[in-house]
């Protein structure tokens, strides 16, 4: 049963990856230099390149979405770096805490042995 699930998952992953790659190449085709009548489509695509569709629901969630393509991509890179920094900071904090507690427990064990 486990092997069956593994196979299904792998097949699903491969299919999705293929579909995702298809989407990437599809977008790249649209992004090719355009002139004349294609310019409008190109501009539209550039505006949506970062997935910005405005704050359609008015919920405030899309505040960051009012960016054009270029600054939006820069915003995306900045966000990615921030997330990497968050993960690194949390990892560092947890590892330091773990080492600290390990040291404390080692010291307390040594003290208990000395008392005995």
């Amino acid at each position: 049963m486990k092997t069956f699930f593994k196979l299904i998952s792998i097949l699903l992953a491969v299919t999705l990856l293929a579909a995702g790659l298809y989407q990437v190449f599809n977008n790249l085709n649209i992004n090719l230099p355009a002139g004349g009548e294609h310019q409008a489509a190109f501009n539209q695509n550039t505006n949506n390149a970062g997935g910005f569709n405005g704050d359609q629901d008015g919920s405030g969630f899309g505040q960051r979405e009012h960016k054009d393509g270029a600054s939006g991509a820069a915003f995306g890179w900045l966000g990615l770096l921030q997330n990497v920094a968050k993960v690194a900071a949390i990892t560092l904090g947890v590892v330091i805490m773990q080492k600290f507690f390990e040291k404390i427990s080692r010291n307390s064990t040594a003290a208990a042995v000395q008392i005995k």
Binding site: K2, F5, K6, S9, I10, L12, A13, L16, L17, A19, G20, Q23, V24, N27, N48, A49, G50, G51, F52, N53, D57, G58, S59, F61, R64, E65, K67, G72, A73, F75, G76, W77, G79, L80, N83, V84, K86, V87, I90, T91, G93, V94, V95, Q98
Partner: protein
């Protein structure tokens, strides 16, 4: 097996970090990448199924406190990721278009998606941090050491060359 686990885990982390930035990839790639990530997460769960069953069975019995904390964080991560994936599917634009149906999800799903994304990022970071010893050990074994060995062999060969010429 450890090598496979390491590569899958690093792939999941990288893909998750990229997927949290739809501004960077665009909506379409964001959605497909997230779906591929969902499938990979199922593989990740299956690969660690024995650990889940063992720790789950002994959770309220005698168990190392770190394993108990890991299990608790993983459980929260499962809930958060499930919320993230479901809300993502509900507010998806590419998938319904492709499959030929329309989802009229409530506006609040977008907020839920955003909130669960932030919580998931925090929990993923904790999950990564709690397994840091394993990640560091395996990275050293399968990624850093082979590269170091390559350079060592090369420098050995460079040092040996003048000797041969002298002889």
């Amino acid at each position: 097996m450890n090598k496979t686990n390491l590569l899958i885990d690093l792939g999941i982390l990288s893909a998750f970090l990229v997927a949290t930035q739809p501004h960077l990839t665009g909506t379409s790639i964001h959605e497909w990448l997230s779906l591929a990530l969902t499938a990979t997460l199922i593989i990740h769960l299956l690969l660690h199924w024995d650990w889940i069953v063992n720790v789950g069975a002994q959770y309220f019995k005698k168990l190392l406190h770190v394993s108990r904390l890991k299990f608790f964080i993983d459980l929260l991560l499962l809930v958060s990721m499930t919320t993230l994936i479901l809300s993502g599917i509900l507010i998806s634009r590419t998938l319904p278009e492709l499959l030929g149906f329309q989802l009229n999800a409530a506006r609040s799903w977008k907020q839920i998606h955003s909130l669960s994304s932030d919580i998931s990022l925090l929990l993923v970071a904790l999950h990564f941090a709690l397994n840091w010893n394993w990640v560091a050990g395996m990275s050293n074994k399968y990624l850093i050491s082979p590269i170091r060995r390559l350079f060592t062999k090369k420098s050995d060969a460079d040092n040996a060359l003048p000797l041969k010429i002298n002889q």
